[in-house]
Amino acid sequence: MAEPKKQKRLALVATKGTLDWAYPPFILASAAAAMDWEVGIFFTFYGLPLLNKEIKATISPGSNPAMPMKMPFGPEKFQNIDWPMPNILMNNMPGFEGMATGMMKKMFKNKGVASIEELREACVDMDVQMIGCQMTMDVFGFSKEDFIEEAEVAGAAAFLAYAADADVSMFI
């Protein structure tokens, strides 16, 4: 059996910090690492809190009007109903965001989707490089101590140099 070809590289930019948008970078990174690719994720702007020791990501239904709302319990037919969620309700009802976040977490868990914490841990286990954007840290007042100890810090030029040699690059 021939040895696999030269190691591939995936370079991801993670710019969003809501619970739903936290999934794509960690899913792609862990899948690529599971295929023995070299992976680096550059966390910038609202993606930066995903490096925090404790992830507190919530969903933001108000800013995502196309988000389907489904019930994580009851018979399958009931669970498959798309509940229309008027913006006025999502934006003005106190506690709505917390409730919607809880429901999404429950739905993911019921369906067998790993939690963000599990996926991030899998990434760390497989040596995915987690790079915090220095500039965003300065602007939003993050320090390296806030982050998991595996996190590194770098600027745009350093990440672009890494991405220049990548086989796949994505901005999420």
Binding site: A2, E3, I27, M35, D36, G112
Partner: protein, 78 residues
């Protein structure tokens, strides 16, 4: 039919956990040993084929057992 050295049950797990767990299980095995992985992820079939192609490990057999149950036989090659 290859002799199976280790069995890994990924039932109930969705993408990307079956490939992540498969990689981890293979790490702890010797070259030439055979892993059987069970998955209920409807996307497991194309995922495992791609995974084998990318990693160079040998996918000896992939079976669709119906009712969304898939079994894969993988030989560690390196």
């Amino acid at each position: 039919m290859a002799n199976i050295d280790t069995t890994l049950d990924c039932s109930g797990m969705l993408c990307p956990m079956p490939v992540v767990k498969t990689r981890k299980a293979l790490k702890g095995m010797e070259v030439g040993q055979v892993l059987q992985m069970i998955s209920t992820d409807p996307g497991a079939m194309p995922d495992m084929e791609a995974w084998a192609k990318q990693t160079g490990h040998e996918l000896i057999e992939s079976n669709d057992n119906g009712d969304n149950v898939f079994t894969f036989t993988i030989k560690k090659t390196h």
